[in-house]
């Protein structure tokens, strides 16, 4: 494989990133990959029509999936290494003996997506292929399992979607369409025409899923090789060599001398190391006894584990740290959920004003204003000093506050003058008349710019004092 011709950026990727890369590859070369798949699978579809029973037709078409996928894999491998697609190049992948195992004993293997690239692209014998797989994936088959399950799911969804779409577009009402879908899914009583239609739907679903299935498997393979074999480093060095060809040649010419110097240095270094290691400080031993559970704790704490493919060394300390992070994350999530729930409840919940129309105290019920202690005198002073509007505004506001407080009329800040009057319709006549008088002169002045005479003002003020303010 000429990795310098690779059409993707090589770098160590996580499991999900490599799956993402596979998806991107599938989308990028969807057309040629589809073509290779269809060309191989179409004859099998046509042959499957010859069988009488739908189950056999379906089984036949499904069983040879590894064969169609092989064509996709070979096409993808050619494309990704910037090669020219030829029939010979594609057919080369079918020479692998293990392919026949995938069509027989290993047909149900869910590791096919990641194993096939090794089998088809690396010219290895049967036993070496197994060793190679074990070494490359180191037992981490999560992505292969997920891709297999996801592929199955996607196929089922696409089949169902095609059937539903067909029936819901062709039938006049919902019930007929729904019965049609149910009928076709009952494969025991399926008609010949329906079986053909269903097989075509399965074919289309297998087509779409195969492209992504193979691409993700191949991307995982490339990623594993990048990590294990340092493809990215190799490619980097190759690029440097290409760029600095002359310099590299010079370095190459100098290399024998460097090697000589290095050999001499090595002999000296070895002698020094031997002296150091023979020194008494390096031969002292001391036994420390700790309680058993503590001993285990420290062992666990400082134990170095090799997590295989991820290449991380994880000890108990890291685990604890991870747990703390996890709890913090879950805690933050719970707090966020509570906050959003509270916000939603406050807006639309049972107790919200929007839902019930109930009024919250501070903004809705009439506010007890800071009325002056000598209220009547202040109003009168305002009036006599020409602050007519201030005087009547204070008179009216005070009247509303006193009426609300005295008769519990439940007057709200949003109540207009007319609404306030309606709410005072049940109070005693003198108080109501006094309030009406105050309201009338207030309305005329405030909105009609009609100043009441001094007599009217004085009369209203007196009635306010007598019937509204007085207990």
């Amino acid at each position: 494989m000429q990795i310098e011709r690779l059409q993707v950026v090589l770098k160590p990727r996580t499991m999900w990133e490599s799956a993402d890369l596979g998806t991107k590859l599938a989308m990028r070369w969807f057309l040629p990959l589809s073509l290779s798949w269809v060309l191989l699978a179409l004859p099998f579809l046509l042959i499957s029509f010859q069988f009488d029973r739908f189950v056999i037709q379906l089984l036949f078409l499904w069983w040879f999936k590894p064969l169609y996928e092989r064509a996709v894999l070979m096409t993808l491998s050619i494309l990704i290494f910037d090669g020219r697609i030829t029939l010979g190049g594609v057919l080369k992948g079918f020479a692998d003996s293990r392919l026949w195992f995938y069509l027989t004993f290993f047909r149900l293997s869910w590791r096919r997506s990641e194993n096939t690239p090794i089998d088809a692209l690396e010219d290895l014998d049967f036993n070496t292929q197994s060793q190679r797989r074990n070494w490359l994936y180191a037992g981490d088959t999560r992505i292969a399992l997920i891709v297999s399950l996801f592929g199955l799911m996607i196929e089922a969804i696409i089949v169902l979607a095609i059937i539903s779409l067909f029936y819901f577009l062709t039938q006049s009402d919902f019930n007929s369409a729904y019965s049609g879908v149910l009928k076709i899914l009952n494969i025991n009583e399926i008609s010949k025409e329906e079986s053909i239609f269903l097989l075509i739907a399965v074919f289309l679903a297998m087509w779409v899923s195969a492209i992504f299935y193979v691409s993700v498997g191949f991307a995982t393979y490339i990623d594993r090789r990048t990590i294990k074999e340092g493809w990215d480093l190799e490619l980097g060095f190759k690029k440097i060599v290409n760029r600095l060809g002359v310099l590299a040649l010079g370095v190459f010419l100098v290399l024998p001398n460097v090697d000589l110097i290095a050999r001499e240095s090595d002999a000296e270094t070895d002698a020094i190391l031997e002296n150091v290691l023979d020194a008494p400080e390096f031969n002292q031993t001391k036994t420390i006894t700790v309680p058993e559970h503590l001993s285990q704790y420290f062992q666990d704490m400082f134990k170095v584990e090799d997590d295989g493919p991820t290449r991380y060394r994880v000890g108990i300390g890291s685990t604890i740290f991870a747990w703390i992070l996890k709890f913090l994350l879950i805690g933050a999530l719970i707090v966020a959920l509570v906050f959003f729930f509270y916000k939603f409840y406050a807006t639309y919940g049972i107790g919200s004003s929007l839902r019930t129309g109930e009024k919250s105290e501070p903004s809705q019920t009439v506010r007890i204003r800071a009325l002056p202690t000598n209220l009547v005198q202040t109003i009168r002073e305002d009036w006599s000093n020409g602050r007519i509007r201030d005087a009547l505004a204070l008179l009216y506001s005070a009247a509303v506050v006193y009426i609300d407080k005295k008769f519990s009329c439940d007057i709200l800040e949003s109540d207009t003058e007319g609404e306030c009057l309606r709410k005072t319709s049940t109070i005693d006549t003198e108080s109501r008349d006094a309030f009406q008088e105050v309201t009338r002169i207030w309305l005329r002045l405030a909105y009609g710019n009609s100043k009441p005479s001094d007599e009217i003002f004085e009369s209203a003020l007196l009635r306010f004092e007598k019937h509204i303010v007085a207990p």
Partner: protein, 328 residues
């Protein structure tokens, strides 16, 4: 009726009397639905257009004919259907073979009161044919602009049920309706009165508006409209109206608030409301009483509230109860 004077008090007294007379005349044939009649009358005098929503058979056509009969006005009725073309509304020019000239044949829009029945049954382009006339009071036919007769008002009806196959009015057109009034089923007593009035002593299934004597002239309608300008609006009342409209733009549960046109419509309607009581000034009660019909078609609720079954009226009522009335 007496002639127009320069005395505002006399003009306001005339306006109040005229409005009361029109209202009483309409109620002789259109039983119940006081609020609808009131809204319609206010909107008519304020120079706006009405969107009526109600199920069929509640007397929407009768209401229009009754209003027209009050001032001997012309009425036109267009049944909106999916195949209705804009030229079916506005009119078109045809070639006269005799004179070898194009001549304009005016559409039913050239009338005083136009009933656009089930407006949401016609596609958007046909609905849009009403836009120009509603806003500019003019119609363009083949590059020639014609003024519609004055007074002119569009009363469009919508059926709240059977929404399948309808074309909801676009926001731009909705906004051009000054108010949206809801006609609901009458109560039992009112319905009994309607049946009695319709069937007693005659072989008929519909009410006749011939019993309505014209109580004002078309000129007097113009006079009524001019009188609205005599009604003063204090700064605090203006601010109150604007606060109500602005609150619809920030209120939770409302996804689309009302435009400034709503504030203008509120004040215009409130002025007529004040005029009905021969008052020369608008009070906060006038503003509040017209807020619902002015705002209900100009706001859109969020999906959450719609799912909960809330309607625009309840949301607006809640909103109005949260806005402080002017007190100083």
């Amino acid at each position: 009726m007496n002639s127009e004077t320069n005395n505002p008090s006399e003009e306001l007294a005339f306006a109040a009397d005229a409005l009361n007379e029109i209202s009483s005349s309409i109620r002789r044939v259109f039983i119940g639905q006081e609020s609808v009649v009131n809204d319609l009358l206010r909107c008519f005098v304020a120079g706006g257009h009405v969107l009526l929503e109600g199920v069929p058979g509640l007397g929407k056509t009768l209401l229009v004919r009754a209003l027209a009969a009050c001032f001997s006005g012309e009425t036109g009725r267009i049944q909106f259907t999916p195949d209705l073309m804009p030229s079916d509304i506005t009119g078109h020019s045809i070639f006269n073979m005799k004179d070898s000239k194009f001549e304009v044949r005016k559409g039913p829009i050239f009338t005083n009161l136009l009933l656009a029945d089930e407006i949401n049954r016609a596609p958007a382009k046909t609905q849009a044919a009403l836009l120009e006339v509603m806003q500019e009071q003019s119609v363009s036919i083949d590059d020639v602009t014609f003024q519609v007769t004055s007074p002119f008002m569009v009363l469009a009806t919508q059926n709240p049920i059977e929404q399948d196959g309808t074309y909801p009015l676009p926001e731009a057109e909705l906004d051009r309706f000054m108010i949206k009034s809801l006609i609901d089923y009458p109560d039992e007593t009112t319905e009994a009165n309607i049946v009695e009035l319709t069937t007693k002593g005659k072989h008929s299934t519909s009410l006749n508006v011939d019993v309505i004597e014209p109580c004002v002239t078309i000129d007097e309608i113009g006079r009524l409209r001019r009188t609205t300008t005599l009604v003063e609006v204090d700064e605090s009342v203006l601010s109150y109206a604007v606060r109500i409209v602005r609150a619809t733009r920030v209120a939770p549960g409302i996804s689309r608030g009302a435009s400034p046109r709503a504030s203008i419509a509120t004040i215009a309607m409130a002025r007529v409301a004040a005029m009905q009581e021969a008052r020369s000034y608008v009070i906060p009660d006038d503003v509040k009483s017209v807020s619902l019909p002015v705002l209900r078609h100009r706001i859109a609720l969020t999906t959450d509230l719609e799912i909960e079954g809330k309607n625009t009226d309840t949301v607006l009522e809640d909103l109005l109860s949260e806005i402080d009335a002017p007190r100083s």
